[in-house]
Amino acid sequence: MDTPAAPTPPLLQLDDVQMHFPVREGLFLRSTRSCRAVDGVSLQLRAGETLGLVGESGCGKSTLGKCIVRLHQPTAGRILFEGTDLAALGQAALKPWRRHLQMVFQDPVESLNARHTVGEIVAEPFVIHGEGDARERRERVLGLLDKVGLPAAAADRYPFEFSGGQRQRIGIARALALRPRLLVCDEPVSALDVSIQSQVLNLLLELQRELGLSYLFIAHNLAVVKHVSDRIAIMYLGRIVELAPADALYAAPRHPYTRALLSAIPRPDPRGTRERIVLQGDVPSPINPPSGCPFHPRCPHATDRCRVEAPALRPAPGHPDHTVSCHLDL
C-alpha cells in the first residue's frame, strides 16, 4: 500500500472478464437470454495484498471468485496470473497453475467430504498433484493442522466432530496445502458465530504475514472486509462500481451505492446519529439488467444521462488509485 506505483507486474490482473449463463426456457428449453452474472470486470491484485470484494447477493462476487480459480470458464476476458492468461488455458494446461490459486468456501460443512478423515481431506491436494509419499504427506498434514491451530489428533477424526470454526480451519489448511500464492476466500466467516469470527480473521491475517499470501476476500459484511483488506472493490449487478484503498473508501465513498451500503450497516453503537440512506426497491435481475448505469433505478441522484449511458470505471479527479463508475462527481 505504501508503494503505489510498484514496478513489478500485479500477481493477478483481470481484463474485462465476463461470465454469462444461458437461461433455458420455453417449450424446447432453448437458450434465448443470458444471465450476465459478471459483466466486464477489470481489476488488479498485487502480491501480498488483500483485495476485498463487496456486494449484495446476486451481484456476481462469488461467480467472479469462481472464474478466477477456474471453477467457471469465463465467457470472455482475460485472467492474467503472473502474466499468463488462465482463461485461455485448457484443463490439462491449467493443472500446474491451479496449485497457486486456491479457494476457501463459506460453508465449511458442505465443502468438506463427510466420509473422509480430516487427514485425508487435507492430504487430497498432495494426492491430486502427486506430491510426496504417504509418510511425507502425513507429516505435511500435521504441519498444516498445526499452522491453522488444530491438534495433530484432528487428522484421524471426521468433519462432523468439529465445530463450525474448526471446520473452517480445516478448509483453510486444505487450501494452504500446495503453498498457493492467492487464496480466494468466499464469505469465509459469515457462517460463524461472532466470537469465532474474530478467531478465524486473526488466523487469516497471521497466515498472510507469515506466508506472504494474497487474498481476494469476498464478503457482504463491510466491517469485516474493511478490517482485513488493503483495497476494496464494490460490485453491483456484475460490475465494479467503485475500487479504492480501504480507508479512503470508508472515509470518502464516491459512488451513491457505496454510500448507501456504508450507511445501511447497523453500527454497534446505540447513540449513533448518522443519517441512514435507505435505498428504494430491490436489486434488479442480471437477466434483464437496466439500461445505462445499472444502479440508476435505485439511485437518488439519477439523471437522464444515467438512464441511457453506462459510466466507465475512472479514477476520481486527483485520486489516481480511487476509481469510480458514476457520471456525477459527488
Binding site: E56, S57, S163, G165, Q166, D193, V194, S195, I196, Q197, S198, Q199, L201, N202, L205, H220, L222, A223, V224, K226, H227, V228, S229, D230, A246, D247, Y250, A260, L261, L262, S263, A264, I265, P266, R267, P268, D269, P270, R271, G272, R276, V278, L279, D282, V283
Partner: protein
C-alpha cells in the same frame, strides 16, 4: 430488572425452563430465564448459536418441536394468562391474533403453493371476520401499509414471485394483520442484504411507533441490537448473562462475555489488519455444560468461586449481570 410502571409490562417471562429429550438424554436449552416486555418498546435477545434465544421465542409461542421440546418450569404471563399452561384452543386465538411472529426465512414461513392474498386473508378469517371479501380487502390494505407497491396485483402472486425483501414484508404484514400487542421477531433480517435489511428495520420501527407494539427481537447482530432495541438480554448457554437498557449494555458491559462479544467484532472505524480481540475456545455443548458459571472455561477472569452458579445482581438502574466478579473487573 426494576419495574418503572408495572402496567406497562405486556409480556412477562418468569424462570422459564425448556428441555429437549434427545438420544443423549434430556438437555436443558433454556434454564431459568426471566424478562419483561413493555408496551411500545423493543427488547433484544442476543447470543450465539445454541444460547437458547430461539428456543425462548418458540417457548413463548408454544411452538416447540413435539414431543421432544417441553416447558418444564416457569410462567409466561400475557394479558392475565399463563401461556405456559394454556390449552391449545386458546393458544390458537392468541398466536397470530394478540402475538405476531416473524421468522428468519420468509420462504419457509409462507406457503409456496398458495397466493399471498389467500394466506393473508386467512389471518383475518381466523381472527377478525367471517366475510372473505372483507378479509381480502383488509389483506390488500395491510400489504400497502408494509410498503408493497401495487398490492392489488401482489395479492394474486405466489411467494416465489417476490424478492426476499418483499417476502419478508408479507410475513410482517401477516404478523401485524390483527394489530397484536406483541411481535416476536426471530432474526427477521438475517437472510436479507444490508440495503434491504435497512428497509425492513425502518419499516418495523415505523409500524411500532404507529401501533404502539412491543417487539421481542432475537438476533446475533450487535449492530441491529444497538440501532433498534431499548432493552437487551445477553444469553449464554441457556442462561441470561446480562440484561439492561441498551446504552448500559454497550457503554458499561459488566459481564466478561458481553465485553468479549463487543471487543471481538471488527468495526468500521477500527485499525485495519490489527489483531482482533477474541473469546478463546467455543460455546460448550448442552451435553457438557460446566457446573457453576457456564462461561467459566472461556473467561479470562475465572476464579474458584466461578464453580458455583452466579445469580443475577443489580449493576445499575434496570441493569443486572450474572457474574461473581463484575465489581472487580478492570474498566474497559
Amino acid at each position: 430488572m426494576d419495574a418503572p410502571a408495572a402496567n406497562d409490562v405486556i409480556l412477562s417471562v418468569r424462570d422459564l425452563v425448556t428441555t429437549f429429550d434427545t438420544d443423549a438424554g434430556r438437555l436443558t436449552a433454556v434454564d431459568g430465564v426471566s424478562f419483561d416486555v413493555r408496551r411500545g418498546r423493543t427488547l433484544g435477545i442476543v447470543g450465539e448459536s445454541g444460547c437458547g434465544k430461539s428456543v425462548t421465542a418458540l417457548s413463548i409461542m408454544r411452538l416447540l418441536p413435539q414431543p421432544m421440546g417441553q416447558i418444564r418450569g416457569g410462567r409466561i404471563l400475557f394479558e392475565g394468562r399463563d401461556l405456559a399452561n394454556l390449552p391449545p384452543a386458546e393458544l390458537h386465538r392468541i398466536r397470530g391474533g394478540r402475538i405476531g411472529m416473524i421468522f428468519q426465512e420468509p420462504m419457509t414461513a409462507l406457503n409456496p403453493v398458495q397466493p399471498i392474498g389467500r394466506q393473508l386473508s386467512e389471518v383475518f378469517l381466523l381472527h377478525r371476520t367471517k366475510d372473505p371479501a372483507e378479509a381480502w380487502r383488509r389483506g390488500t390494505e395491510m400489504l400497502r401499509k408494509v410498503g408493497i407497491p401495487a398490492p392489488e396485483v401482489r395479492m394474486h402472486e405466489y411467494p416465489h414471485q417476490l424478492s426476499g425483501g418483499m417476502r419478508q414484508r408479507v410475513v410482517i404484514a401477516m404478523a401485524l394483520a390483527c394489530e397484536p400487542a406483541v411481535v416476536i421477531a426471530d432474526e427477521p433480517t438475517t437472510a436479507l442484504d444490508v440495503t434491504i435489511q435497512a428497509q425492513i428495520l425502518e419499516l418495523m420501527q415505523a409500524l411500532q411507533r404507529d401501533l404502539g407494539l412491543a417487539v421481542v427481537l432475537i438476533t446475533h447482530d450487535l449492530g441491529v441490537i444497538a440501532e433498534t432495541c431499548d432493552d437487551v438480554i445477553v444469553m449464554y448457554a441457556g442462561r441470561v448473562a446480562e440484561a439492561g437498557p441498551v446504552e448500559a449494555i454497550f457503554d458499561r458491559p459488566a459481564h466478561p462475555y458481553t465485553r468479549g462479544l463487543l471487543d471481538s467484532i471488527p468495526r468500521l472505524e477500527g485499525t485495519r489488519k490489527s489483531r482482533l480481540r477474541v473469546i478463546e475456545g467455543m460455546v460448550p455443548g448442552l451435553r457438557d455444560l460446566p457446573a457453576g458459571c457456564r462461561f467459566q472455561n472461556r473467561c479470562p477472569h475465572r476464579v474458584d468461586r466461578c464453580a458455583t452458579a452466579p445469580a443475577l445482581e443489580a449493576v445499575g438502574p434496570g441493569h443486572e449481570t450474572a457474574c461473581h466478579r463484575w465489581r472487580e473487573l478492570p474498566p474497559r
